[in-house]
Amino acid sequence: MNGSDTPEHCLDCGAEIPAGAKECPTCAARGVGSPSRQTAVLLSLLLLSALFVVTGFATRAFHYHEEQVAEEWLRRGEAELAAGHTNEAIDALRNSLVYSKDNRQAQLRLAQTLAAAGRNDEARIYLRTLWESEPGNAAVNLELARLAVRDGDVSEALRYYHGSIYGVWDSHVLERRRETRLELIQYLSSRGLRQQALAETLALAASLPPDPKLETMAGNLFFQQGVYNRALVQFKEALRLDPHDEKALAGAGRASFELGNFADAQRYLRQAVRAAPHDQEAANLLALSASVLELDPYAAGLSADARAQRVRRAFALAQQRLTACTPPATDARAPQLAVLAARLAAMKPQATQNALRRDMDLFDSTAALAFEVESAAAPVCGPGSVDDQALALIARVRAATASGIIPGGGL
């Protein structure tokens, strides 16, 4: 290819060098002389240094510009998000990531926005990428948990929720962990996983700082899970920290009520209603508690006379209840009520004050019939008056006590 008979070409300009000529005639004509190697090396090193400096400045300026562009897109994304323009926000956040690939905040924000837009698969990809590089990132774990919740994948949800609870938060660590655990408890409760929800609630309660609001929140959680005795403990703790906390008072009243401690319930609820007169639920419970305390023929410390009077009153209430309640003939439960009405009518002559005072069997059977009437009438005729509700409640508490069940005594 480059044999001896091929013409020589100038290494500088590429022109053909005639045979016998020592230098390129074109370069010689232009007066271009090649500097010596020494000069060339020196010039090259000088040029290299200059280029290094220029490139350094250019790179710095370029990176600064890219950071600015990324920030601007991130801001725009947030603004679009605030305006409810999800798709525009996604585009803006994606643009931001082009100029700042490793910006975790933008990645997470984009994933959250994608998830909010229902684009779960895309969100999951960003989150998985973040998770792979930082498995202990609590915020990423939380978003993945929420995606798992949407997918109905309980084990994945639990895994990521725990990853979030025990992971690393940037700020407000305890608050974030608590909120996450709360979210997990609500999820577990919604899935009917009572034991797991309870375990998480216990863990939550154990890690609470001395704050009446938080204690009340924990009490409410226990209450929702039907663990009234543990709920009462939390409400009492809240009241110890702030005796006038109306929510804690109401909670303690409700928990005591559910536990059958109507006297305590009345005490707490009375304070709660005094502190928050608008709390209708507390007011209703207070009325009910008062009625129970007033009507319960088995209450401790009553004389035989007083017991007999209470049974007679219960009997009368039961009679009024059936008189006031006339279910349609087509209702399947109507015959049962008719039988109870007949039994009431049959017992009425026997249920005198004296007889009830002397005969404990009559006392029990009369009370039992009154309770049975109230219990049977409630589903057909509605809750009835406060006294009717109180009688039905006393009936339930007595039945539970008789079968050995301690109401709300899960723990």
Binding site: H9, Q38, V41, S44, F52, T59, K101
Partner: protein, 596 residues
């Protein structure tokens, strides 16, 4: 002056004063900079380092310019607004055409075959205005959305800088021819941020063999270049690669499918580019001013709905690697990229094919992976792994550099567990591409331009003829130097060999067999004294025929002996046998004859 005379410099100790040291230091520096202190080979290494740094810096500037140009022309959004997305590629395409046709006519194409031509035809000379032209036109073209990449131009820019430095440093013609690949490796390494792949590519595609003395210099420049690039651009890899897991060996079947699909896709792309390019070149000259603009218009129209096809597309490769597209969309993107890249490249817009090939590979791989994942979930893992392997597979099919394609994926991922699927699918794609397109892309592009460059693929696969392919059985016993003539005559009776071989203490010798019959032979002291050829060089069956030819000189034959026993004659080789072996090889085509 009353001051005492200064002592003579030679009388003072060498380290007495700084003033006395200065001339020595100056002399040393002067010798170093003039290259006199370094032999040519060592100076070449030093220059490789300088070239590497220059290459790295220039590629950093090149990338910054492309990105800045993109932002300036199309804005910073991934979805450029409608007027820009259509108008900018058209206007920029026209400007690029003007620059290429009127100012920088040598910057057309990717730059790889031009660099090869510089090495094999122009004594390593790459005109420096090519570097400037490539820099400007590629930055404008790629920045405006032409579907081309910056890697191949970086390779040519590196080669151009190396060539310019080599000329200024007055390198010998031999070294100057080798300097372009050194610069090419520097440019490619910085552009790819992967020195191993760059070195392998230059060896596989530009130099063609591993024996070249330039290998060390290529490595030095590639490492220097990557170091500089990482200094300025950070050491983040080109793509964020997800973790690769091969769940079950059965999954490899899915990669076989990927290899087959990529192989045929490669063939289709190669045929499209190699058919379209000459047709466009044959159109009237005035149309050449419009071709890049028309390609730009096509890309702009596609870009309205699919902006992913514009430019190099690294961000979208990254997204494909992370499963962020549905498989149908990935397939569509691969097809659209094929159309836009073919149009851009064939129109004469300067720019490289590496990035588009990686883009198509990632999209196609992701599509195959997504499809298999959807319909055969037990067969494949997540599609991102397929996108990753797909990049290497299509690279193997289109560029036909098998080693580079494998190591590129490994270097990008930093994970050796990916090697088995990559090897499987790359090999399949490579063989399918080779079967349907005999000449490689860059060689065919050169041929279309009227230059026949040596095919590196053929050179890699050349199997030299060996001594065992030519040697024949020796039809006479090997005689011992101590044999008396009468015994030797008896032993050689009936042999038809024109020469007889004698094994003596000083090695093998040979004499014409008719000498034994001669009456004078009886008076010879020993057989050794009869030898007309003494100290014959010996050959082994696994040695090349070129070695045999060199050693044969004017000797009638050479003994072929065992490597384990230099006295055990296995056969002989003469000029006749060697020529016959070459003739047989020629007749049999590519395959060498079986050993006799």
């Amino acid at each position: 002056m009353s001051a005492p005379p200064a002592p003579a410099p030679q009388a003072a100790p060498a380290t007495s004063t700084p003033a006395a040291k200065l001339p020595a230091v100056k002399s040393h520096l002067s010798r170093f900079f003039s290259g006199a202190a370094l032999p040519e080979g060592q100076f070449f290494f030093f220059l490789s380092l300088v070239i590497g740094i220059f290459g790295g810096l220039s590629v950093v500037c090149f990338r910054l310019t492309i990105d800045s140009m993109r932002q300036w022309l199309l804005g910073s959004s991934l979805r450029p607004p409608l007027p820009e997305v259509v108008l900018v590629p058209v206007i920029a395409g026209f400007c690029v055409a003007l620059l290429v046709l009127l100012v920088f006519p040598q910057v057309r194409g990717s730059g790889v075959n031009q660099t090869k031509a510089a090495v094999y035809i122009f004594d390593g000379r790459v005109p420096f205005n090519t570097v400037i032209g490539k820099f400007i036109t590629c930055a404008l073209g790629i920045g405006s959305g032409q579907s081309l990449g910056p890697e191949d131009p970086s390779l040519q820019i590196g080669a151009g800088i190396a060539s310019a430095l080599g000329r200024r440093m007055h390198l010998s013609r031999e070294k100057l021819r080798l300097i372009a690949p050194v610069g090419a490796a520097a440019g490619l390494a910085a552009a790819f941020n992967s020195p191993i792949s760059a070195v392998l590519f230059v060896i596989e595609e530009v130099i063609g063999n591993w024996n070249a003395g330039v290998l060390g210099a290529v490595v030095v420049s590639a490492v220097a270049s990557v170091t500089v690039a990482r200094w300025f651009l950070g050491d983040a890899p080109l793509f964020r690669v997800p973790a690769f897991h091969l769940r079950h060996p059965v999954e490899l079947l899915a990669y076989v499918v990927l290899g087959i699909v990529s192989g045929y896709f490669s063939v289709f792309f190669l045929k499209t580019v190699l058919t379209l390019r000459p047709r466009l070149q044959k159109l009237p000259h005035w149309s050449h001013y419009l071709q890049p603009a028309i390609a730009g218009l096509l890309i702009g129209v596609i870009g309205i709905r699919f902006p992913q096809v514009m430019g190099a597309g690294y961000d979208y490769i990254d997204q494909a690697l992370h499963d962020q597209f549905a498989w149908q969309f990935l397939l569509l993107l691969a097809a659209l990229k094929l159309i836009s890249t073919s149009a851009s490249f064939a129109s004469g817009a300067p720019g490289g094919l590496f990035a588009p090939v990686l883009f198509m590979g990632a999209m196609l791989g992701g599509a195959v992976g997504g499809f298999e994942n959807h319909f055969f979930p037990s067969l494949s893992s997540h599609a991102g792994s397929f996108a990753l392997v797909g990049m290497g597979t299509l690279f193997a099919g289109i560029m036909r550099v098998p080693m580079t394609s494998i190591f590129m994926v490994i270097e990008i991922t930093g994970d050796y567990s990916v090697i088995v699927p990559v090897m499987i699918s790359n090999a399949i794609a490579y063989f399918i591409s080779r079967r349907h397109q005999r000449v490689t892309l860059f060689d065919e592009l050169s041929r279309q331009d009227g230059i026949v460059l040596p095919s590196m693929e053929e050179r890699r696969e050349e199997r030299p003829l060996l001594v065992e392919n030519a040697m024949r059985w020796f039809g006479a016993p090997a005689l011992a130097a101590t044999d008396v003539v009468s015994v030797a005559r008896e032993r050689a009776a009936g042999a038809s060999e024109p020469y007889l071989l004698v094994r003596g203490e000083s090695g093998w010798g040979a004499f014409p067999s008719e000498l034994l019959a001669d009456g004078k032979a009886a008076s010879a002291a020993s057989l050794e004294s009869l030898c007309t050829f003494r100290n014959l060089p010996t050959l082994h069956p696994d040695e090349g025929l070129e070695t045999a030819l060199r050693l044969l000189e004017n000797r009638p034959l050479l003994p072929v002996v065992r490597r384990t026993d230099q006295n055990a004659l296995q056969g002989v080789v003469g000029l006749q046998e060697i020529l016959q072996a070459y003739r047989r090889d020629e007749e049999a085509g590519q395959s060498p004859p079986s050993p006799s």
